[in-house]
Symmetry: C2
Subunit: 165 residues, 2 copies
DNA sequence: GACCTGAGTACAAGAAAGTAAACCTAGCGG
DNA sequence: CCGCTAGGTTTACTTTCTTGTACTCAGGTC
């Protein structure tokens, strides 16, 4: 990745989508909660069992994820049991899949268990395994070295060095 | 995303590439440091200026990233100045690009600044803007709803409920 | 030889986040 | 109507992070 122009030292760093995403999902456990739910675990106590994280943190993370529309709660009732609630991933939550699968892919490549990856993702429709890729609008595969970073419409500089009037 | 089989309640969660990746880059500031370096900021004091994070944390994050081979230090010398060191991203670091651009993409979609994104990434070779996509080996574009999660070679169950001999 | 700059290290004090474990509450089954 | 279970709260404690200053060290400038 290389900057196309100088995004450099007077750039206003407060408008950053990466930072804003991390505000929502950057805390410890948050992405792992999401992972578990993707993997099919949906109830509070099961999540707690799988993750081994403190219950209050789990509760807090779930609340935040629901608040941000990444998860939703559903109530359901099994025969002869009282109604329960469980968590499901929304479309907004599913849009985090590229990012999370990107982390998974990196871990598989560089920090894998000797035995290999614990899970493998496939395309439901054709059975082939998945990769996360950066693509351009003309559908070229774009390796990181060919990424060019440039200013967008929300680009700002901070405290433009204007002289006193 | 849906599990193909029950990865469920007796799954051994210690073999997880997502968790292992987050051990390296999951702390506060780490991915933002990487962002700055991708954006062309490479010197300690400049990184400090841009991020506004405590110097000791910046030093610690940089050390860890270098330790893990995501960054490397280079020394360089400008005319008539003494030699300095700066940080550059390695190939291993560049492999985090899909994950980080995935976070960026999500932020652009759901938490954008009113003015729009601060940066836009293009394909250097053709100028077209980028997206991060999940693709299968047969090159289908795979939306999250078509991702099927199954056990891999490193899949383990924990404390298999074996009877006493 | 005194001072400046870049690249850190060292320390202290307070705030925030994370951890551990006990406690609470609503239904159901007996 | 007692206890069990799922789904949380509360409270106490520990670790990290933040804020902010001070110090080091090397090479170059004045």
């Amino acid at each position: 990745m290389a900057p196309i122009t100088d995004l450099r030292l007077d750039r206003d760093t407060t408008n950053c989508s990466i930072a804003r995403t991390l505000e929502v999902v950057g805390e410890k456990w948050t992405l792992l909660v999401l992972r578990e739910i993707w993997y099919g675990v949906s109830r509070f106590s099961d999540l707690h069992k799988m993750l081994g994280c403190p219950r209050n943190l789990l509760a807090e993370r779930l609340r935040k994820l629901v608040e941000h529309g990444i998860l939703a709660t559903e109530t359901y009732q099994e025969d002869g049991a009282r109604s329960r609630s469980r968590y499901v991933v929304t479309a907004k939550g599913n849009d985090l899949a590229p990012a999370v699968l990107g982390l998974l892919q990196w871990g598989d490549k560089y920090r894998a268990d000797p035995a290999g990856p614990a899970v493998i993702n496939h395309h439901r429709d054709c059975g082939a395994p998945l990769t996360v890729q950066v693509r351009c609008a003309r559908d070229h595969h774009v390796p990181a070295a060919e990424v060019e970073v440039g200013p967008g419409p929300g680009f700002r500089t901070k405290a433009a060095p204007e002289r006193a009037t």
